[in-house]
């Protein structure tokens, strides 16, 4: 089963497997010795030269994104592995409504319970799918949980003192986007677009398959998180924010620009409200779009989703989510803000 996962992934990732010609078991440890050797040697030889300010700023932001996402990723992977190993599949068929049409909003609303950021929700959603939850419902959960959980809502209230409607609009708009995206996937999505990750379910003791699932998910999702972190750090250093702020006054364009900024910056959903609040030149609707898009579509999520669910899924689901998020934010901003 998981052989399939390994093979499919290696089709997309540039280095398929290192050193195909020899048995892997013999080669990898030596590659590892080289890595450690480079680390030790590099400290002495290269470190004095790696001091360009731009490179250092890039490295700081890159490490910051990785370091900050790590606890959430570990937590998400832990939860996901626990779901796979300890919660029987029958639990989900009982907990969620039988009809997928109803399961989607229930799963979306359930996202309010998991206090994590987007890095946690991807492995959890894939764990749910591999335990038989309707993909559309798991996707609604995936989109909703980083945006509407209590920690994020409290952060939004704190970041916008005197503007409680911002938190209300964020909660409402995010939930609507999650549920509608789930329904659209249910109606138009095709099963072969989505690669449901199969898990190594060992026949041994439960804790063993728990550890196995955790290790596999962590290595997998972590690798893609690094891809996203590196891209976001590059954008952060290379694209001057002044470009973006020059369009602050133009109505529709400013909403689109902040939505794109949310994608580029890839800020954790627990922190993005503070950044949105600091973008003083923009309209409340544009800030709302920033808050709704950020937890659902950003560079590290694109990398994580592509890695977890496959490229064909990501190429359809991510644009769908982005468009829905922008449209719903505009409507909610019109009505509520």
């Amino acid at each position: 089963m998981s052989e399939r996962v390994g093979v499919e992934v290696s089709e997309e990732v540039p280095p398929p497997e290192w050193g195909r010609r020899q048995p892997l078991g013999a080669v990898s440890p030596w590659i590892f010795v080289v890595v450690v050797g480079l680390l030790l040697l590099g400290r002495l030889v290269f470190a004095p030269y790696l001091t360009a300010p731009a490179l250092q700023a890039w490295a700081t932001i890159f490490v910051a994104i990785c370091v900050q996402a790590l606890p959430f990723l570990a937590f998400g992977v832990l939860l996901s592995a626990a779901i796979t190993a300890f919660v029987p599949a029958s639990f989900w068929t009982r907990a969620l409504p039988k009809r997928p049409f109803l399961a989607v909003p229930v799963a979306g609303a359930a996202g309010a319970v998991l206090p994590g950021c987007e890095c946690a929700s991807v492995p959890v959603a894939s764990g749910l799918m591999s335990r038989g939850v309707t993909p559309a419902a798991a996707l609604a959960f995936l989109l909703a949980s980083p945006a509407i959980n209590p920690v994020v809502i409290v952060a939004t209230v704190v970041a916008f003192p005197g503007e409680p409607m911002m938190a209300v609009a964020r909660f409402g708009a995010s939930l609507v986007v999650a549920v509608v995206a789930g329904w659209v996937w249910l109606r138009f999505g095709r099963a072969d677009w989505l690669r449901i990750p199969s898990r190594p379910v060992g026949h041994g003791p439960k804790w063993r398959s728990f550890v196995e699932a955790m290790r596999h998910d962590f290595l997998h999702a972590g690798g893609f998180l690094v891809v996203g972190g590196a891209t976001a750090a590059t954008m952060n250093v290379v694209v001057p924010r002044a470009w973006l702020e020059s369009v602050a006054g133009i109505p529709v364009l400013s909403v689109l620009v902040l939505a794109l900024l949310a994608v580029i910056l890839s800020i954790c959903s627990e922190a993005d409200a503070f950044v949105a609040a600091s973008l003083t030149a923009f309209s409340p609707t544009a800030k709302l779009a920033f808050l709704v898009v950020g937890p659902m579509v950003d560079l590290k999520l694109i990398a994580l989703q592509t890695g977890t669910f496959g490229r064909r899924f990501a190429a359809r689901f991510i644009p769908l989510t982005f468009v829905l998020a922008v449209v719903v934010s505009m409507a909610a901003g019109e009505v509520l803000l």
Partner: protein, 237 residues
């Protein structure tokens, strides 16, 4: 990638995270102080995953019969060594002058939940740059009149005017990726070398037009003394 390599990568990563959180305060260059327990917990979990893998590997072939089919980890996992390389080779410092240089509209500091306290006359009031900027731009600007304040930050030259420089500090909400620069223009003092940490004592200079448009122009401080200091343990506000 076989199980041994996977375990090694996990140990390396967990070790790197524990290194920057337990034996040094480097993690403060990247995240808020409150994040430490979570980072330590995550580091321990990752390290344990690696150690368990090693132990299983070492215990030998009994586990191997059915393992070959799911011990494959994708090659992308190699990328997890990148942050480790960055931490050990580049040892990324706290964001500094490079990130504060752009003369873009300044971010408004996150507003304090409660109104600022009254300042005591006759003494030097220590405050964050965020509070100073918040007071100068807000309703409570009058509270700064005639008061001596002490601000801590690093020196950044102005890109527009030749003899103008700023005392700056990065404010982060969660991690360095969301950092925004807060700046105060320092008057009547020569600029220390760029990126030097200094304490500046001075008084707020009321702008000629009365009130500043928040976000557009940095508040000004007439300096009476400037002292070089080592970088604070907590580099961000």
């Amino acid at each position: 990638m076989n199980r041994l390599t996977q375990s090694m990568i996990l140990i390396l990563l967990g070790g790197a995270v524990l290194r920057i959180t337990t034996v040094s305060t480097t993690y403060l260059n990247y995240v808020k102080p409150g994040f430490r327990p979570f980072l330590i917990a995550a580091g321990v979990v990752v390290l344990l995953l690696g150690v368990i893998g090693l132990v299983q590997e070492w215990r030998g072939a009994t586990a191997h019969e059915d393992d070959h089919d799911h011990s494959h980890a994708p090659g992308v996992a190699w990328l997890l060594t990148l942050p480790v390389f960055a931490i050990f080779l580049i040892a990324p410092p706290a964001l500094g002058a490079f990130s504060a240089k752009a003369e873009e509209p300044q971010a408004r500091p996150v507003a304090a939940a409660e109104p600022y306290d009254a300042l005591s006359a006759g003494t030097v009031n220590e405050m964050t740059i965020g509070e100073f900027v918040g007071r100068a731009w807000g309703e409570s600007a009058d509270s700064l009149v005639g008061q001596q304040v002490r601000l801590t930050g690093f020196a950044v030259p102005s890109e527009r005017k030749r003899d103008r420089w700023y005392l700056a500090r990065i404010q982060i909400a969660c991690c360095a990726a969301d950092g925004v620069a807060l700046k105060v223009a320092v008057l009547d003092a020569d600029m220390p070398p760029e990126n030097t940490w200094v304490e500046v004592v001075g008084t707020w200079k009321r702008p000629p037009s009365g009130k500043l448009e928040p976000g557009i122009i940095a508040p000004e401080l007439t300096a009476t003394s400037i002292t070089s200091i080592p970088q604070p343990v907590e580099p961000y506000e």
